[in-house]
């Protein structure tokens, strides 16, 4: 039987995975909700099936509908993309029971490395540096004892949080007491069983991550690092590879323990080890994403590889065709800007119809999108329209090309955040490469008054 991959996702990443399937000679099946009827991703795949109404829990998060869609289309593999079911070990487990392959790590690996507290323990075991922190907290009293031991400032975190939820900075006992109650309440609503724990707070950290690929037999490749410090409400906005500040000796220090941890757990498929880098330059592991990342293209461009193809090959047991080196050297520099349907200054999402769109092209420019002229951006899902990715032989060239590409990006019908990206690429911290996860917030505050000015400058710069 020939292999067929059902793509349990939507938008640009569904298109991306369908392209990888095509390049591997695999049949692809898109699934879509009623809100996505007629979307580009339903046309790029070899086949497309409607699996439910707009709300994600009834369609893209609906185990039964997705498995049934795989059954009726003869799909024997499911690629979960990112978000939705991509880190759901129960879904992966279910698939093994119904004889469908999950394109991701084994469920046990997901449960270890995908769990905030367990992955901390696993990392420590293999010598990967982690931030000082606590065990799971029984109650407020326990929390106060741990806080005393580690020392303020601290982060109070919930194991099942994410995207900024279940996360609070506490600087003294009083704040910790209040945060403990608030976080418990927050997590009780729709986040299921959650444990709270404390972690040392790093002020003005950089977000740096390592791209991992494993073949399940203990062979591990690390495709360098990425920096994703430009974030807003814990949502990444601009990512680049390699990190502009990590030194080669820091890289050399970081890699052996990361590789041995991945080797020992016989990691399968793609994964990302996320680190925070403090002002003193020290790196600490914070969590692992056991899936394909939104920002994978920047790594692809500097290594000349196709990570989605490699991921599929690894999980399907096909030869990877990679040289034996575990650590590759990147060539050049790549930057990605996430173009979202939103008013970035007032933080309003902007769903609607894309009346026309014209994407940039030419040397060093790659665009991954699920949008074409006439596409509907439904209010039900995330607001990312496209990833514009620029490659250059140096970071400066990549930034120059990105600026040009953004100026050439034209959409009508929905508001985009292209002007925010242009402003960021003019920011002194960004240009120096010294940005932290606080840079974007700082810029937004300082530019509150000059918002109109920036928008005007952009309008003038636009074609």
């Amino acid at each position: 039987m020939s292999d067929t991959v059902l793509i349990a996702n939507r938008g640009e990443i569904s298109v991306r995975i369908a392209r990888a399937c095509r390049a591997l000679g695999l049949r692809s099946v898109a699934v879509f909700s009623e809100a996505d009827r007629g979307a580009l991703f339903t046309k790029v795949a070899d086949e497309a099936v409607c699996i439910g109404p707009a709300p994600a829990r009834l369609s893209y998060l609906n185990f039964a509908a997705i498995v049934s869609a795989a059954r009726v289309t003869g799909a024997n593999w499911i690629h979960p993309g990112y978000g939705f079911l991509s880190e759901n070990a129960d879904f992966a487990e279910l698939l093994t029971q119904v004889n469908i392959g999950f394109i991701g790590p084994k469920p046990d690996t997901m449960r270890t490395w995908g769990h905030k507290l367990r992955s901390r323990e696993a990392a420590k075991e293999y010598g990967v540096p982690v931030l000082p922190g606590s065990e799971p907290l029984d109650d407020v009293a326990h929390a106060l004892v741990c806080a005393k031991r580690i020392g303020y400032p601290l982060m109070l975190k919930a194991t099942s949080g994410g995207g900024g939820r279940g996360l609070r900075v506490v600087r003294n006992d009083r704040e910790l007491e209040r945060a403990f109650v608030d976080t418990q309440k927050e997590m009780a609503i729709g986040f299921g069983a959650s444990q709270l724990y404390l972690e040392k707070l790093l002020e003005e950290p950089k977000h740096i991550e390592l791209q991992v690929l494993g073949d399940g037999n203990g062979n591990i490749w690390i495709f360098g690092d990425r920096e994703c410090s430009l974030q807003r409400r814990h949502q990444k906005l601009i990512e680049e590879a390699p990190s502009p500040t990590l030194t080669d000796s820091q890289r050399a220090e970081l890699l052996p323990s990361a590789i041995s941890a991945m080797k020992a757990t016989r990691y399968l498929g793609l994964g990302t080890l996320e680190f925070l880098r403090g002002a003193d330059g020290k790196l600490f592991f914070v969590e692992m994403n056991t899936r394909l990342q939104v920002e994978h293209p920047v790594t692809e461009l500097v290594f000349g590889i196709d990570l989605v193809q490699l991921q599929i090959k690894a999980v399907l047991g096909l030869p990877l065709g990679l040289p034996d080196q575990q650590v590759w050297r990147p060539r050049g520099h790549a930057i990605e800007c996430r173009v979202n349907a939103e008013d970035p200054w007032r933080m309003f999402p902007s769903a609607g119809r894309v009346d026309s769109c014209s994407w940039p092209g030419g040397p060093g420019i790659r665009v991954d999108t699920g949008i074409e002229a006439g596409s509907i951006v439904p209010p039900d899902y995330d607001s990312m329209l496209a990833k514009v990715i620029a490659f250059g032989s140096s970071r400066d060239e990549a930034i120059l090309r990105m600026r040009g590409a953004l100026l050439e990006t034209r959409l009508t019908g929905v508001r985009t955040n292209v002007d925010l990206h242009l402003a960021l690429l003019d920011n002194a911290e960004v240009l120096r490469g010294t940005m932290t996860t606080q840079t974007l917030d700082r810029m937004m505050k300082s530019s509150q008054g000059s918002t109109a000015e920036v928008a005007k400058a952009h309008a003038a710069a636009q074609l």
């Binding site: 699934v31 009623e34 009827r37 007629g38 339903t42 099936v49 409607c50 699996i51 439910g52 109404p53 369609s59 039964a64 509908a65 498995v67 049934s68 869609a69 059954r71 009726v72 289309t73 119904v98």
Partner: protein
């Protein structure tokens, strides 16, 4: 031009929404013809001049028809087992809440029930074939 179901669905929706009477399109000699119902034909949405009349899955009823749609993606069966007779046949009168078919998903047999009574006017899907969420399965004539 390849015949795309989604395209047709949207085309019909478009024609209904805007009361388009006719769209004609010949690819060989590249001809296009669009006629609006305008003020002349007022009361009923005029069905398009097309060989494959496809109802939109969203429109569950019109004045004449009740459309029974699939509540999930799966395999369509007209009878409870291969040997058994079909739940309903053309011309059968069905009560509100009567089982008219099964859509199997993950080995679970999901019985599809009507939401109102009527006469089975058309069976739109072949036994054993795959159905999407929202796909029309039967047309019932109001009784």
């Amino acid at each position: 031009m390849s015949l795309d179901l989604n395209f047709l669905r949207e085309l019909v929706q478009l024609m209904r929404d805007h009361q388009v009477a006719e769209i004609e399109h010949v690819d060989g000699a590249a001809q296009l013809r669009v006629s609006m119902a305008g003020g002349r034909v007022a009361a009923e949405p005029v069905p398009a001049v097309m060989s494959h009349a496809v109802a939109t899955p969203l429109a569950k009823s019109s004045s004449d028809f009740i459309v029974v749609t699939s509540p999930l993606v799966g395999t369509f069966y007209r009878s409870p087992s291969p040997d058994a007779s079909a739940f309903v046949e053309l011309g059968s009168a069905v009560r509100k809440g009567q089982t008219v078919c099964i859509v199997e998903a993950m080995k679970l047999m999901n019985e599809v029930e009507t939401e109102s009574e009527g006469i089975v006017a058309e069976v739109l899907v072949e036994n054993g074939s795959r159905v999407e969420y929202g796909q029309p399965l039967f047309h019932l004539r109001r009784s």
